[in-house]
């Protein structure tokens, strides 16, 4: 580690004070390993949403940086995040992506673990002697905390509490984002997954990049009706902004009228939502609830980007998992209303399929340009990557600078935090 420390001691050369990123930031595998240690092993990493673990014994597989983990709700209702590695000779104890269980049993020699990770039993224990301490051989357990249904875990017992890491502004925006339950709790409806040959920071940048939208997503825009197309022209209207919310987090407000979905309930309803309005009326929902639900179906008007791996993007969660220096897995998690009208959830899913995922009208074009970034960095090693856009007219916001909707303020927020964590 000492050697690596010396190697990357000049952090200004990697991310300069005037917001230029060195090409090696996307390419150097030693640096990548260093990031996994210093960032992903040390901070809060998003692992699951509450609704994915509906019952006692519900679990899903996830990752904290490069480490495979199991996220599971135990009998007391607490959520545990456990490294998926048997304490005997390292076999994974679970290879089912999600489900329900009463315990985890290692397939190799049969060590059995409880839902809290504790070692419950093992075949023929005598050979370990009488003082074998089962209590010291549970699955490795991460510190776990959650905020408004979002579950995070960390390997770092010293790190600040989750709410302090998120900070007041992020918490406020999370609460606002969750209003798209339309009066119902938010529920995960499914996910799209695709892997992209790019460094994880290319993704980190993109979640706060409005500048690319009219270019990369032109073909998506063209598939929309007039009203909807207007809503996505946030670069032209210039009403939005990007704000640094501290600790690497940022918000990109694209449609200010949709920051708080309880407001502007009397705005005219877009053409594409009219059939849903009718369906809800026919089902007997009162008029004010119809308005609220329909408004919620359209999603929030902002992207809230958390360092280092999750973004609340308009209507879905976008999660990144670094795989290696040139590969990153992406999950687009679809959200709906738990107990809400099926028609509203159907529309949420069709909207999600329209843009997101391997066959969406948006994601494939994103994936293409992200890969093009990674391919482009093979040339011109000495040329910097610019994230200085919008520095010219940044204003102070609540906790950090606020810039134009197309400013790279959010990327600078992330790189500032990157630098802070890499220097510790």
């Amino acid at each position: 580690m000492l050697q690596a420390q010396e190697k990357f001691s000049d952090l200004d050369a990697l991310y300069s004070p005037d917001a230029k990123v060195a090409t090696s930031m996307y390419e150097n595998s030693d640096l990548f390993n260093e990031e996994m240690e210093r960032i992903f092993k040390r901070t809060w990493v998003w692992v699951a949403h509450d609704s994915e673990l509906a019952d006692k014994g519900s679990f899903k597989l996830s990752n904290v940086g490069l480490e495979p983990v199991i996220v599971v709700r135990d009998r007391k209702g607490d959520v545990n995040v456990l490294v998926n590695r048997c304490r005997h000779r390292a076999a994974t104890v679970c290879e089912v992506k999600k489900g329900k269980t009463s315990s985890f049993q290692c397939p190799y020699h049969g060590w059995g673990y409880g839902l809290d990770g504790s070692l419950r039993g093992l075949p023929y224990p005598e050979q370990y002697g009488e003082d074998f301490d089962k209590g010291a051989h549970g699955l490795k357990k991460l510190r776990t905390e959650s905020y408004n249904g979002m579950i995070f875990a960390t390997f770092n017992d010293e790190v600040e509490p989750l709410v302090d890491f998120l900070g007041p502004e992020v918490c406020r925006y999370i609460d606002l984002f969750m209003k798209q339950g339309g009066g119902f709790p938010i529920k995960v409806l499914g996910e799209h997954q695709f892997t992209v040959p790019m460094n994880w920071k290319v993704q980190l940048e993109n979640t706060t990049d409005a500048y690319h939208f009219p270019v990369v997503h032109k073909s998506f825009m063209q598939s929309l009706d007039g009203d909807a197309e207007e809503a996505f022209k946030f670069l032209d209207t210039g009403k939005g902004y990007v704000e640094d919310l501290g600790n690497g987090h940022s918000v990109m407000v694209m449609i200010p009228e949709r920051i708080d979905l309880d407001e502007n309930l009397d705005d005219p309803i877009e053409e594409r939502f009219q059939p849903l309005v009718q369906e809800l009326r026919d089902e007997g929902y009162p008029e004010d609830q119809v308005k609220k639900i329909v408004r919620a179906v359209g999603g929030a008007g902002f992207n809230l980007n958390l360092f280092p791996n999750v973004s609340f993007s308009l209507a879905f969660f976008r999660v990144l998992t670094p795989v290696n220096v040139e590969r990153t897995d992406i999950r687009h998690i679809a959200l709906g209303m738990d107990g809400g009208p099926a028609a509203a959830n159907r529309m949420r899913m069709r909207l999600h399929e329209h843009f997101q995922g391997p066959m969406g009208f948006g994601s494939p074009d994103d994936a293409e340009v992200w890969e093009r970034v990674q391919r482009g960095t093979k040339g011109g090693e000495d040329l910097p990557i610019l994230v200085n856009r919008g520095l010219v007219d940044e204003q102070p916001g609540a906790l950090g600078p606020r810039g134009h909707i197309s400013a790279e303020t959010g990327m600078r927020a992330a790189y500032k935090m990157w630098k802070r964590m890499m220097s510790l």
């Binding site: 598939s223 679809a334 074009d365």
Partner: protein
């Protein structure tokens, strides 16, 4: 099964195979205009995720009605989508046809599809189980439903600039 129905089955199998091979050739050639004309307006083109089959009420990779199919093709063809300009090239084989049911003029047939795509000097391989619901029409068929279940539909995929 008497000899007569067996002969009929083979004739039907041959007819269905010819139709699906023709469809496969259209998709590899990216002759999407002709492909669209194979469809009945009410038909759905679906790539589900996982095993579920309540496509309306679950998240799929795509679940296209007539409008979405046309929009998708338009996106491929207009030249503004960077991932489809140019798209990956594909070579596919379709085989292992099994006629699952024949009811009136409607035939349900399952098959295996292998697609190899090439882009950026890199080839990727995809395999899927297909099920077509075909309705007899003139000399051939129209598609009422097509469901393609990729083997790893619930795993890590890549983005697709073509159809299965």
């Amino acid at each position: 099964m008497n000899m007569m129905t067996k002969t009929n089955d083979l004739a039907l199998l041959q007819k269905v195979s010819a139709f699906l091979w023709e469809e496969a050739a259209l998709l590899d050639a990216k002759d999407y205009g002709t492909w669209l004309s194979l469809w009945l307006t009410e038909g759905f083109y679906t790539l589900p995720i996982g095993e579920g089959d309540d496509f309306d009420n679950q998240l799929n990779l795509c679940h296209d009605n007539d409008r979405m199919r046309r929009d998708r093709i338009q996106r491929f063809q207009q030249g503004f989508s960077i991932s489809s300009a140019p798209p990956a090239r594909t070579v596919r084989t379709v085989s292992r046809f099994v006629i699952e049911s024949v009811e009136g003029d409607t035939v349900t047939v399952s098959s295996a599809e292998h697609v190899i795509e090439d882009k950026f000097g890199r080839q990727r391989v995809w395999a899927g189980n297909m099920r077509h619901t075909l309705v007899a029409s003139g000399d051939g068929f129209k598609i009422r439903a097509k469901v393609v279940r990729l083997l790893n539909s619930d795993g890590m995929l890549n983005s697709f600039s073509y159809l299965f």
